[in-house]
C-alpha cells in the first residue's frame, strides 16, 4: 500500500531534480496566473460573474436530471445522435463502434480531457485505430508518447529545444531548429494534411445547452473546427456535468473561461454546434464515469461545477513546483486531486495531500468551488479508510502528543532551535523529507512564548 500512497512525492521528487526547469515551470505558470488577474481586473463585475456562475452551476447540479432529458430531446430534434455511456469503457466502445460502422481506421481528435480520462487513445490503438491529436501541445506529448501535464497547456513541461528535436525525428524539421514560429508552422503543415484526409473527427465539449440542444467548443488554434467541419462524422464527447440551462448563460461562462485560463478576453473560437452540417452525421456521447457518484457525495459534489480553466493549476504552489505528471491522473492540479479520489480512493489517496491548503485555488476558481476545503475533507476520509501515507500518519501522532502537553511542547521547541543552531546537519540531511529541494530556515533566537513573556508589558 505504501507504494501506492507515495506516488505524488516520488514523482515530484523526480521532477525536482532539474532545478532550472522547475524554476522555469514555476515562473511561467505564475506569469499566467498574473495575466489572469489583469484580465479579471478589467471587468468591474468580475466577482458578481463568479458568484452568478457558481449559482448557475448549483442549479445545474440540483436539476441535472431535467436538463439532461431536455438536452437529449432538443439535440435529437436538431438531428444529433445521442449516446449514453456509464463509464470510460462504454464510452470507448461506443466510439469504436461508430468508427467500425463507417469503416474508418484513422481519425483526428481535438482536446478532450474526458477522452484522456477514459483512456480512449490507448483503447483505440489496441484496436488498430490511428488517432491524431490536433491541438499542438497535445500532438507534441502524443509524439513523445506522453500524456498532457496540464489541461489547458498540455506540454508546459517541455522546452523548445526538446520540441525541436522531437519534430526533427517525427516531422523531419532541420536538426537544431527550436524556433517556436518555425516549429508551429511545421505542425500546421503536418496537421492540415490530417484534417483534409480524416473522415471522422472527435472533439470535446465545453458547454452543452439544455434549452437548445447545442454544444459549445472553445479553442485558440481552430483545430476543433478544422477537424469537425472537414469530417463526414463529428463525434463530441462530454461529461454529463457540462450541461447548462439556457443559451444566455453562455454569456456568463464565456466571459469567465478564457480570462481565468490564460488571461485572454475570450478564446479565438467559441463554436456553437446546433445542427449537423448538410451531409454530415453528428454524434454526442454523454458520459457518467463516476460523476453520478460524486453528485451524491455532499462534501465533494461541488467539484462537478468545474469548467476546466486550470486557474487552480496555475496558482497552486505545489502544482507549479511538482509538474502535472506527478499527479498520475488525466486531470492534475488541485481540481484533479479532488476528482480523482472519487474514481479510485486507494489509487489516488496521495493526491489530496499534495497541497498546502493555502486556498489560492478556491480564490481564483471562476465557479467558486471550495477546492481547498474539499482537499481537507478528502484527507479525513482517506485517513479514516486507512489509505493515508504512513510517514504522515506517524508524524501526525508524534505532533499530536507534543502539542497536547505544554511542557513537552516547550522543551521540543527549545531542543529544535538548539539542534538547528549547533547541529544543523541533524536536520539538513537526506533523511529529513523537508530538507529535499528546500533550504531550512535559520532558527529563531527565542520562541513566541519567550518573546511574549518579555514584551507583553
Amino acid at each position: 500500500m505504501s507504494s501506492i500512497n507515495a506516488k505524488h512525492p516520488e514523482l515530484a521528487e523526480a521532477f525536482n531534480k532539474d532545478e532550472a526547469r522547475v524554476d522555469w515551470h514555476d515562473e511561467t505558470l505564475w506569469w499566467i496566473r498574473q495575466k489572469r488577474d489583469k484580465a479579471a481586473w478589467t471587468i468591474p463585475e468580475w466577482e458578481v460573474l463568479r458568484e452568478t456562475a457558481s449559482a448557475i452551476k448549483n442549479n445545474v447540479l440540483s436539476n441535472m436530471h431535467e436538463y439532461l432529458v431536455e438536452f437529449e430531446a432538443k439535440a435529437r430534434a436538431n438531428g444529433i445522435i445521442v449516446h449514453w455511456a456509464a463509464d470510460g469503457k462504454e464510452h470507448n466502445e461506443i466510439i469504436h463502434a461508430i468508427l467500425q460502422e463507417n469503416k474508418v481506421s484513422q481519425i483526428v481528435k481535438s482536446k478532450s480531457m474526458l477522452t484522456e480520462e477514459c483512456g480512449l487513445n490507448e483503447y483505440l490503438a489496441k484496436n488498430e485505430i490511428d488517432v491524431v491529436d490536433t491541438d499542438l501541445g497535445e500532438r507534441i506529448v502524443q509524439l513523445a508518447n506522453e500524456h498532457p501535464s496540464h489541461i489547458v497547456l498540455p506540454c508546459i513541461h517541455w522546452k523548445k529545444e526538446e520540441i525541436g528535436e522531437l519534430f526533427h525525428q517525427h516531422l523531419n524539421t532541420p536538426k537544431g531548429n527550436a524556433d517556436p514560429q518555425f516549429l508551429t508552422n511545421a505542425a500546421r503543415i503536418h496537421l492540415r494534411e490530417k484534417f483534409l484526409t480524416r473522415r471522422i473527427a472527435i472533439t470535446g465539449v465545453n458547454f452543452a445547452v439544455a434549452e437548445t440542444g447545442e454544444f459549445v467548443v472553445c479553442t485558440n488554434e481552430g483545430n476543433a473546427d478544422m477537424g469537425a467541419h472537414l469530417a463526414d462524422v463529428h463525434i463530441a464527447c462530454m461529461g454529463i456535468e457540462k450541461i447548462i440551462p439556457q443559451r444566455k448563460h453562455l454569456g456568463i461562462f464565456l466571459r469567465l473561461l478564457a480570462r481565468s485560463a490564460t488571461g485572454q478576453p475570450i478564446t479565438t473560437y467559441s463554436s456553437h454546434f446546433q445542427k449537423p452540417n448538410a451531409g454530415q452525421v453528428m454524434h454526442i456521447v454523454l458520459v457518467d464515469n463516476g460523476r453520478t457518484v460524486q453528485l451524491g457525495r455532499e462534501d465533494f459534489r461541488n467539484s462537478l461545477k468545474c469548467i476546466r480553466c486550470a486557474a487552480c493549476f496555475n496558482t497552486c504552489p505545489v502544482y507549479r513546483r511538482s509538474g502535472g505528471h506527478s499527479y498520475h491522473t488525466a486531470i492534475a492540479g488541485p481540481i484533479g486531486a479532488i476528482l480523482a479520489p472519487n474514481l479510485d480512493m486507494k489509487k489516488y489517496a496521495d493526491l489530496p495531500f499534495a497541497s498546502t491548503l493555502c486556498g489560492s485555488c478556491s480564490n481564483v476558481c471562476p465557479v467558486k468551488i471550495d477546492i481547498h476545503n474539499q482537499l481537507y475533507k478528502w484527507r479525513q476520509e482517506i485517513t479514516e479508510e486507512g489509505y493515508s501515507p504512513k510517514t504522515k500518519t506517524v508524524a501526525m501522532k508524534v505532533m499530536a502528543a507534543i502539542l497536547s502537553k505544554p511542557a513537552v511542547f516547550n522543551f521540543a521547541g527549545k531542543a529544535g532551535r538548539w539542534v538547528m543552531k549547533y547541529l544543523p546537519f541533524v536536520v539538513n540531511n537526506k533523511l529529513n523529507p523537508w530538507y529535499k529541494q528546500r533550504d531550512m530556515p535559520a532558527p529563531p533566537k527565542q520562541s513566541f512564548t519567550e518573546w511574549y513573556k518579555k514584551n507583553r508589558k
Partner: protein
C-alpha cells in the same frame, strides 16, 4: 436497465435539493463610452486588425494591396465587385488553397474583440477556419458592449452553427511563445463601414 436509464436514475437519486437560477439580468454589466474604440483596442491586442472604410469598394483595394495570390480570394458578399463569389456547393476540402475569405459578420463585441458569424454568413462552415487570411465586414453600429448583450441578440434563434471569432488562430504551446496562425487564419481583418 440500459446506461441511459442507469445514469438518469442515479442523477435523480443523487442530485441535491433544488437551487434556483440566479437573475443574471440584474447584473450591472460593463458599458463602454465608445464601443468601436474598445473593440479596436482589444482586437489589436490579440493580433487582429480593424480597418475603417467609407464604402465597400475599399475592401477590394485593401485586400489586393495587403495580400498575395489574388486568384484565391473568395467572398460571400454579392455587393463586393472584384472578388469571386464563393460557390456554396463546393466541397469544403477544395477551400484548402483559399488565401483570403471576406464574409459579413452579424455584430462585434467590445469587451473581447470577437465577432459573431453563423452558417448564413459563411455558407460553408469550414471557410473562416481553413482560409489563410480572414476578413470580416461590420457596420459601425453593429457593436455591443459585452457577451450578455451578445446573447440577447442571438436570442433563441436557430443558427445551426454559429461562432465567435476573436483574432487570428493562435497557439502558445511551445514555451508560451505566441504564434499567430496555428491551424486557421494567420491574420484577421475587420472592416468597419461608416454608415
Amino acid at each position: 436497465m440500459n446506461s441511459r436509464e442507469k445514469i438518469l436514475t442515479a442523477v435523480k437519486m443523487n442530485q441535491p435539493a433544488m437551487q434556483q437560477l440566479p437573475d443574471e439580468e440584474a447584473i450591472a454589466v460593463i458599458q463602454y463610452e465608445d464601443k468601436l474604440a474598445q473593440f479596436t483596442t482589444v482586437l489589436k491586442t490579440i493580433g487582429g486588425n480593424v480597418v475603417p472604410i467609407n464604402c465597400i469598394d475599399e475592401i477590394v483595394d485593401f485586400v489586393k494591396n495587403n495580400f498575395s495570390d489574388s486568384q484565391n480570394y473568395v467572398t460571400t458578399l454579392s455587393e463586393l465587385d472584384g472578388i469571386a463569389m464563393l460557390d456554396e456547393k463546393l466541397d469544403a476540402h477544395f477551400l484548402e488553397n483559399i488565401e483570403v475569405a471576406v464574409v459579413k459578420a452579424l455584430f462585434g463585441v467590445a469587451e473581447n474583440g470577437s465577432v459573431w458569424l453563423t452558417d448564413a454568413e459563411v455558407k460553408i462552415r469550414a471557410l473562416p477556419f481553413i482560409c489563410q487570411h480572414l476578413a470580416v465586414v461590420l457596420q459601425k453600429n453593429d457593436f455591443v458592449n459585452n457577451m450578455q448583450e451578445a446573447y440577447k441578440i442571438t436570442g433563441k434563434s436557430d443558427y445551426n452553427f454559429g461562432v465567435f471569432i476573436a483574432g487570428p488562430s493562435k497557439t502558445a504551446d511551445i514555451e508560451q511563445s505566441l504564434v499567430l496562425g496555428a491551424h486557421g487564419p494567420k491574420t484577421m481583418t475587420v472592416f468597419v463601414l461608416d454608415n
